[in-house]
């Protein structure tokens, strides 16, 4: 066992750190200003410029297979990159990747959808969740009915990440109601549906500075050839693996929490009350210490979840644990950091309140706290995972 980053991982970490410090953090005030004025966080031109710079540096397609021009570096590298990029709230993700399920497409679909998505020419979204079906996917109601050589889709999807910007959606709909009711995992199909085939998206305003979309399918006609994977086999598109990457939420929380804790440390040395820096006070010291301990714990959980997947092992139990613990850790840390900053922390002069609002989402999306606990408990009670199995 070797609990240190390799030389390459360390160099990637340092390079991304430099990129974040030089290219992203200087934009933070602009982002805060834009958001206060109700404008997009960053202009499209700025976003393009950042993508270009990142791509020129070869930071592109970190987890994309090399046959598609990606670097294919695996989950540990993804974890390292995710934690570094999360040290700023400036919205940015490295390009050159596509949703896993797009790789299940046939040659024509890869040509038309997968490759343009990797190249950033098209944007996709994946739509499963409905107003009455979140993690309980059995309850979905959207249907697709065959009519000639086309399928007619009706229904509503909600909380779709990227749904406002997407050029096409990969939507899950029931194609054989009986089979679906009997088996729970058959009788649903995934369709690739271009926006110009007629679906609509509506922005959902949230507590944060980012909002998902509601998608409306009202007699949207889709050609048969746009079925992704097999008819009635929507769940065979690796959807049972949907939880394998949710540790990334934990990674985001770790990155943000590290930056926030550093802000709190710096502030507690500067801010004086009753003649002494507040960092001299035990009340502040304990908050700093608790935050540091919890960040460290979350970080190891995130790295372990990523590492386990790189070993080709089932990491979903660990991914749920890293997601649950990491996102809660992030909420506790941002709360303490705001408390340490006092009134200043509550203002919009500093980004703490922005992070505070964003952090609340971590406990909700990609499976709520409650879903993660359910998964973890079920794995243990059913004996799928043994106590202390992984290390």
């Amino acid at each position: 066992m070797h609990l240190r980053l390799t030389d390459e991982q360390k160099m990637v970490q340092e390079t991304i750190r430099k990129f974040v410090e030089n290219e992203l953090i200087p934009l933070e005030n602009e982002v805060l200003r834009n958001e206060r004025e109700g404008k997009p966080s960053l202009s499209a031109a700025k976003q393009e410029e950042l993508q270009r710079k990142a791509k020129e540096s070869g930071f592109w397609g970190i987890n994309t297979p090399s046959e598609y021009g990606g670097a294919d570096l695996g989950q540990m590298m993804q974890a390292i990159v995710s934690m570094e990029v999360a040290k700023t709230f400036v919205p940015f993700t490295f390009g050159g990747s596509a949703d896993n399920i797009l790789y299940y497409g046939n040659e024509r679909q890869k040509e038309e959808y997968l490759i343009p998505t990797i190249n950033g020419e098209k944007k996709s979204c994946f739509a499963m969740t409905e107003p009455d079906a979140g993690s309980d996917t059995r309850n979905i109601k959207t249907t697709a009915v065959k009519d000639g050589n086309e399928w007619v889709i009706n229904g509503e999807k909600t909380f779709i990440t990227g749904g406002n910007e997407a050029n096409f959606v990969m939507v899950i709909a029931i194609t054989d109601k009986e089979r679906h009711q009997q088996t729970g995992r058959e009788g649903v199909t995934c369709f690739i549906v271009d926006r110009d085939m007629g679906w609509r998206s509506e922005y959902i305003d949230t507590m944060g500075e980012w909002g998902p979309a509601a998608l409306v399918f009202d007699n949207v006609r889709v050609p048969e050839e746009n079925i992704l994977g097999e008819l009635h086999g929507g769940y065979n598109l690796g959807l049972e693996w949907i939880g394998f990457a949710r540790w990334i939420v934990g990674a985001r929380a770790v990155g943000a929490a590290e930056r926030l804790l550093q802000m709190a440390i710096d502030y507690s040395k500067e801010r004086k009350t009753f003649g002494r820096p507040i960092g001299d006070r035990q009340a502040i010291q304990w908050q700093i210490a608790d935050s540091a301990v919890e960040i460290e714990a979350a970080k190891w959980m995130v790295l372990n979840a990523a590492f386990t997947l790189d070993q080709g092992e089932d990491n979903r139990h660990l991914a749920s644990m890293a997601k649950l613990y990491g996102s809660n850790m992030g909420n506790r840390v941002v709360d303490r950091v705001m408390q340490i900053h006092g009134g200043m922390g509550y203002t919009r002069e500093l980004p703490i309140e922005r992070w505070y609002r964003e952090a609340r989402l971590w406990r909700i999306y990609d499976g709520t706290d409650e879903i993660q606990r359910m998964i973890i408990a079920r794995n243990l009670l059913k004996g799928n995972v043994k106590v202390g199995q992984f290390i």
Partner: protein, 257 residues
Amino acid sequence: MNIFVLLKKTFDTEEKIKINDGQIEEDGAEYIINPYDEYAVEESIIQRDEHGGEVTVVTIGDDESEKQLRTALAMGADKAVLINTDEDLEDGDQSTTVKILESFFDDKEADLIFAGNVAIDESSGQVGPRLAEALDISCVTTITSLKIDGDTASIEKDVEGDVEMVESALPLLVTCQQGLNEPRYPSLPGIMKAKKKPLEELEIDDLDLEEEELEPKTVTIDIFLPPEKGAGKVLEGEVDDQVRELVTLLKDEKKVL
């Protein structure tokens, strides 16, 4: 073209400097490529990509210096040489460094050697020019632009804010100044390849040098931190009065006017 870069590791600019027993504490410090040497690495890659050839990055240091060399390789340099003096050399100064490099370059037939203008730790700016002198090749310091056509280099050089244009024949040693270029980030594929690129490790013994030759020519008498910055003075009153007071202070107290 046979291109070399002289590279030094320096304290990370965010590192806090602590002095203990007249020595700078190095334990646990993070090191980076000297920022001026980054311009040198970048320019060497640009010139190689334009004119062909090979870039070799050379450093004098210890086992830890491999990290900065690998970073330069990840940026795009072809080869690296670490002259490891950790076990052989107690003390050294610029004279020591130049002696070692002179011996290293003895059989290299370099067309171009890039160095940083200064290293941000001791800021002597001596190694580049002294090495050029030792190798008997031309030297231009603080360059901000370099164009090479055949055997001739056209150079723009920073002289206290002004620009001086210089032409020189190759072989040539230049020291790089801010403004010459914008150093690239090591690329992701570059990082993955860096480990496989050749890194040669040499010791003093390999360079046919006698230890006496390497004796430093300078003596360090003391090392101390600059005085802590005191609180500033806030002027008050009408703007006219404030300006008058400021001028008086600059003239009489600080004597800068």
